[in-house]
Amino acid sequence: MNAVTLAGLAGAALIGMGLFGLVTHSHILRKIVAFNVIGSGVFLLFGAVARRGAASGLNADPVPQALVITGIVVAFSATALAVALLLRYFKEVGSPFLADDPGAGASQPDHERP
């Protein structure tokens, strides 16, 4: 097994662990961390793809590296947005867990006129 295959398998393992964490944990911060674990797995996969030089048989392909940089920026902004929303969520709801009643009519704002 060479280094590229190892990196690819490690990426796949990270994606699997992250997906498991995202689905099983109900603490929102853990979900956000799990999202980042999946993201790291995808970036590692990108690295393996770049090393393989899939596009043109080069020694290393620069395109995936450029994509990874963009991907990291996007994942960073997503995490920042999620954490900011979570802070406000915690302040309003008083719990870091996701409420259990999706779409239940009772949880809806009343739209009463102020």
Binding site: I15, L22, I28, K31, I32, F35, I38, G39, V42, L45, F46, A48, V49, R52, A54, A55, S56, V63, P64, L67, T70, G71, V74, A75, S77, A78, L81, A82, L85, L86, R88, Y89, E92, V93, L98, A99, P102, G103, G105, S107, Q108, P109, D110, H111, E112, R113
Partner: protein
């Protein structure tokens, strides 16, 4: 190389429309964010006619030339460079989103205005910058011709749409926004995983190049499967719909209109690109059937849940779940070069467009109704037709298109899809559409029937106090959207010829 670069530089002026369609709203958003205060609204309103004219010009050029408008960024064509491209459906969606974003934005002038002597708050600044950001992101998704540009567009769309949900700052809206964000994040990381695998297997992200290279093999299946799963989470197709109703129902009316009419169409559009443009026909047949089955279940589940709601805005949001189901019925019908494929393609596109107009009108009219009666409980709408005739009329007109009553855009769309399903032998889908139409009529009846009934007692007296906060401009704007949904039923043949530009079936016909 230099000669080819020069020939690229001598591109026609029309070709510059596409990058401008993305860059200008981004620029306007940044400017609005920097200047702040009352300027945010002024810049957004000033951008509206410009944005609509750019989208209109793109649609006109695509229709006139009868071929897609293509722009190579920096003059470098794929595989080295990145292309952006507007075919007929993309141009039609650009124009639709420009018109609806403008109407919802003008409607919001009453809601999110910094009044004289009042301090600007976050909702004012947020709404106008987010509106421009959603506009830019949608344009990017519609004209993106490589999987990574589309990824960036989808992310921008999510980042702008989630804060729009919780702009009002109530507790419930934060729960809805959080759930929406978690679904959307999972969706985007799955999409990125798929894009990585596509690049690993085929060495390109350009849709045109991939369409020739991609083969039904393990790598392509896993890649497209991951991307589709991610996109379905963002589109809220059943069973990934649970985030949508509280998010769309809890937002302010203009925000709900944009979210329900436009934002979910962005990721739907990418699913269409993946399975009808990118994947070869022999590969997309089975997934297309699966998408149509999920769509059928969404129609039933969404409509039945809409029937059970006690609140107007939640009912409209569940109706969006059902109408998204209709969009996915086009997949098995539009595949391949059958005689009915182009009808199904136009029908699917028309369903997306007419639902956008009708649903925006419906959410805005619901906003007007809440303004008049002070709540949105369905049980308290009796006699509303006398109290506020305009919103009820707008609601009913928009409902006509959703139900698929002639003449309306919804009728034309469902008629095209239904005839395609009968011709192709998909009888079950025709039946689903018929029953779905009946269910839609049933849940809309729960609003319209009590609204038109005479009020039984007091409400008329209590309303004699001057309530009409429902602005005449708001009514005019939502009426215009509802009329647009109806007038799509009289769409001239030019619209069909626009939608056919770049359609998978049509390109095959033209080559033959």
């Amino acid at each position: 190389m230099i000669a080819s670069t020069l020939s690229q530089l001598s591109m026609r002026a029309e070709d510059a429309l596409l990058p401008v369609a993305i860059a200008l709203p981004v620029g306007a958003m940044l400017l609005a964010l920097c200047l702040g205060g009352r300027w945010t609204e002024r810049i957004a309103v000033a951008f509206m006619p410009i944005g609509v004219s750019i989208a209109g010009a793109v649609a006109y050029v695509v229709w006139r030339d009868q071929r897609p408008l293509v722009y190579f960024i920096g003059g470098w064509a794929p595989p080295l460079g990145v292309a952006i491209r507007a075919d007929g459906v993309a141009a039609a969606m650009l124009l639709t989103s420009a018109l609806i974003a403008s109407a919802a934005g003008l409607f919001a002038c009453d809601v999110f205005r910094v009044k004289p002597g009042e301090k600007e708050n976050r909702a004012h600044l947020g709404f106008w910058t987010l509106l421009l950001a959603i506009w830019a992101a949608l344009n990017c998704v519609f004209v993106g011709w490589d999987l990574f540009s589309i990824y960036v567009g989808l992310e921008m769309l999510t980042f702008a749409a989630v804060p729009l949900v919780c702009l009002k700052g109530q507790k419930e809206t934060f729960v809805a926004a959080m759930r929406y964000l978690l679904f959307a994040l999972l969706g985007s990381v799955l999409y990125l995983l798929g894009a990585t695998l596509v690049y690993a297997a085929y060495g390109s992200l350009d849709i045109g190049i991939l369409a020739q290279k991609i083969q039904p093999e393990a790598a392509a299946w896993i890649a497209l499967g991951a991307m589709t799963a991610g996109l379905l989470a963002k589109t809220a197709l059943f069973p990934l719909h649970i985030w949508l109703p509280p998010a769309h129902a809890g937002a302010a009316p203009p925000a709900s209109a944009i979210l329900s009419a436009l934002v979910v169409k962005g990721s739907f559009f990418v699913v269409v690109r993946l399975w009808l443009t990118l994947a070869p026909v022999q590969m997309s047949e089975a997934p297309a059937e699966l998408l149509a089955i999920l769509g059928s279940v969404a129609i039933f589940a969404g409509s039945v849940l809409a029937l059970r709601q006690e609140r107007l805005k939640l009912m409209i949001a569940y109706s969006t779940v059902a109408q998204i189901g209709y969009l996915f019925l086009m997949f098995p019908l539009a595949i391949g070069q059958h005689p009915w494929a182009s009808a199904a393609w136009s029908g699917g596109a028309l369903q997306a467009i007419s639902h956008a107009f009708a649903k925006a009108a419906m959410f805005l009219s619901a906003g007007l109704i809440v303004d008049v009666v002070g709540h949105d409980r369905l049980s308290g709408l009796r006699g509303l037709g006398r109290l506020a005739p305009q919103p009820v009329l707008i609601f009913a007109l928009a409902g006509m298109s959703l139900m698929g009553l002639p003449p309306s855009g919804g009728f034309n769309a469902k008629w095209l899809l239904m005839s395609a399903s009968v011709q192709s032998g998909h009888w079950a889908l025709a039946l689903v559409m018929a029953v779905g139409g009946l269910l839609t009529a049933a849940y809309l009846y729960r609003v319209i029937a009590p609204a038109l009934a005479p009020a039984e007692n007091a409400p008329a007296e209590s309303a004699s106090t001057p309530t009409p906060k429902a602005s005449s401009r708001g009514a005019a704007l939502s009426l215009a959207l509802a009329l647009a949904a109806i007038l799509l039923g009289f769409a001239p043949p030019e619209l069909a010829s626009l939608l056919a530009v770049g359609a998978p079936a049509a390109t095959i016909e033209r080559i033959e």
